[in-house]
Symmetry: C2
Subunit: 321 residues, 2 copies
């Protein structure tokens, strides 16, 4: 049974919406969550679930409030000229403790890879692997690569390696990666294009087109291969790259097992039968909509699909500094 | 003072959002509204405001509930083989009465122009001029026309006539119009391209690119020139058309006073200083994002702008039949 485009998008964007005139599934889903706050900032930046709050070895640098609402506050470090840096240290220290206790089997080793809390009032990073424990907005950049042939547009689509811890064997975007702290989405995609597909820097810079974002609010399930039930609001910065027909893509690292040149119909069939990593399928559907391959005249759920591809995230996404 | 891109988008999409962790402006704005229901359908299709419900000369074909929630129900016509057609008649009859009593000075004369209730379970139209009294999702199709020159992309932008009842003298999309009952967005834009810009049918069909939607939830203000405070959820189906540099646009009807060929900078300046009709400015910002003229690296509110341009509407937007 082939999935519809709306079902494909819902796989990624699976947190309930507010429904006018019916039992409010959105409020019911929000109610049990813990809000994560930074110092001197009235707006929350993350959602933690009960099982994470319970297992996390909270230090004195955090305050846990049960009433009037479930909240976790990172306290403002005192006696410190650079209290912003001390905030990041407090989170690092907490995660080291959690690792020592093996509180979260999927947390993994500490790596030198920090993601920003994008709506914060100051520059603060948090380890990539811990983003979803705090339910903070994650950022990635994805580039769809296509070429025009006599038989119509074709896409260069990689298949992930079988030994990947997340989404093994699934189809992916030609180039994709997480946008780190201090990096712009554009710098990220140029870097990844080199690392993942050996695309010359100049070729990318001259021909790439920034084309918006895809956003969602996802609750992690067993397919993602990590902790279950975590809140993952996410944004992908979307880029298109048209290349010549003579260009051939080959795997350059161990993340990818093969590259395939696929027609629009082949891509749609692969998405419908669940072969794409869900976030990559969402980016592909956005591409097919922007380029007129999925239209209102043929797709009855057109309006809802487009709104769901661009969900307004539950936290601030504009930097406050 | 130039408006930011986010402020421009908010002018159109001005109904509050649910804000996590703060007083819920969204719920407060929803609470006083009346929900509009069709027979045999548990989902609402419109929002009416108090002043409309009070002035409307409701007939026995409607039921007004005050508790447990403010609701207006169109009752299922009895003893009628074609009860769906009788529903449309009941609304027509009501609007005739409202006109006879001059209940809504801005309602205007009856015209032979019907819009569909897009999420209904059957094919039902409602007069265009009455859509916003019922707060039903309105539909339009907008086409941005551009050409590539030595100095970069330029847009063909019309200025509305001074005597228009809505948005006089403001800048608009090259081609735009409401999508009527029984019409697809594509048929609408081809028809309007002929009527408004004398564009040859074949040229449009061969070169047009469907590129998604722009959606919003607007509360009408004094600038729109109609009844104040009405709930206007809306969807515009967005199309791009690239034309040759030799093509020159001229007004062909009385809606437009002049056509201008404007650069990206000129368009952005005109939007920032409030010269564009708000919905057209939103479509233009969507174009500039999809084509890489507004990017995440330069626009700090990029993610929020894109989400607001594609708001999930409060009612079903997929036809239920």
């Amino acid at each position: 049974m082939m999935r519809s485009d709306l079902e494909i998008v819902k796989e990624c964007d699976n947190f309930p919406y507010y429904e006018v005139g019916s039992a409010d599934a959105f409020a019911s889903a929000i109610e049990p969550l813990w809000l994560f706050y930074l110092p001197d900032d009235p707006e929350p930046h993350g959602f933690l679930i009960d099982s994470v709050v319970k297992r996390m070895p909270w230090t004195a640098k955090f305050r846990i409030d049960l009433s009037p609402r479930k909240e976790v506050h990172l306290l403002k470090p005192e006696g410190n000229d650079d209290w912003q840096a001390a905030c990041a240290d407090a989170i690092d220290e907490l995660l080291d403790l959690a690792r020592a206790e093996n509180a979260f089997p999927h947390l993994g080793k500490k790596r030198d890879e920090q993601f920003p809390i994008i709506g914060a009032n100051f520059d603060i990073g948090i380890e990539r692997s811990a983003m979803s424990l705090f339910g903070i907005v994650g950022r990635g950049a994805h580039m769809t690569v296509f070429t025009r042939t006599n038989e119509g547009i074709k896409f260069w689509v990689p298949r992930r390696n079988a030994n990947k811890s997340t989404w093994p064997n699934m189809l992916d975007q030609a180039v994709a990666g997480g946008v780190g702290r201090g990096e712009t989405p554009f710098e990220c995609i140029v870097r990844e294009a080199d690392e993942e597909a050996a695309l010359p820097n100049e070729l990318v810079r001259q021909n790439i087109v920034a084309a918006g974002t895809v956003t969602w609010f996802n609750i992690s399930d067993e397919k993602a291969g990590g902790e279950l039930g975590l809140m993952n609001p996410g944004v992908l910065y979307v880029y298109d790259l048209e290349v010549g027909e003579d260009m051939v893509f080959k795997p350059v690292d161990n993340d990818i097992q093969s590259f395939h040149l696929m027609s629009v119909d082949e891509v749609r069939h692969a998405m419908g039968s669940g072969e794409f990593k869900p976030s990559c399928a969402a980016v592909m559907i956005d591409f097919l909509i922007r380029h007129g391959f999925i239209t209102a005249d043929k797709e009855k759920d057109y309006v809802e699909i487009i709104s769901r591809l661009h969900r307004k995230l539950p936290f601030r996404t504009s930097p406050g500094y």
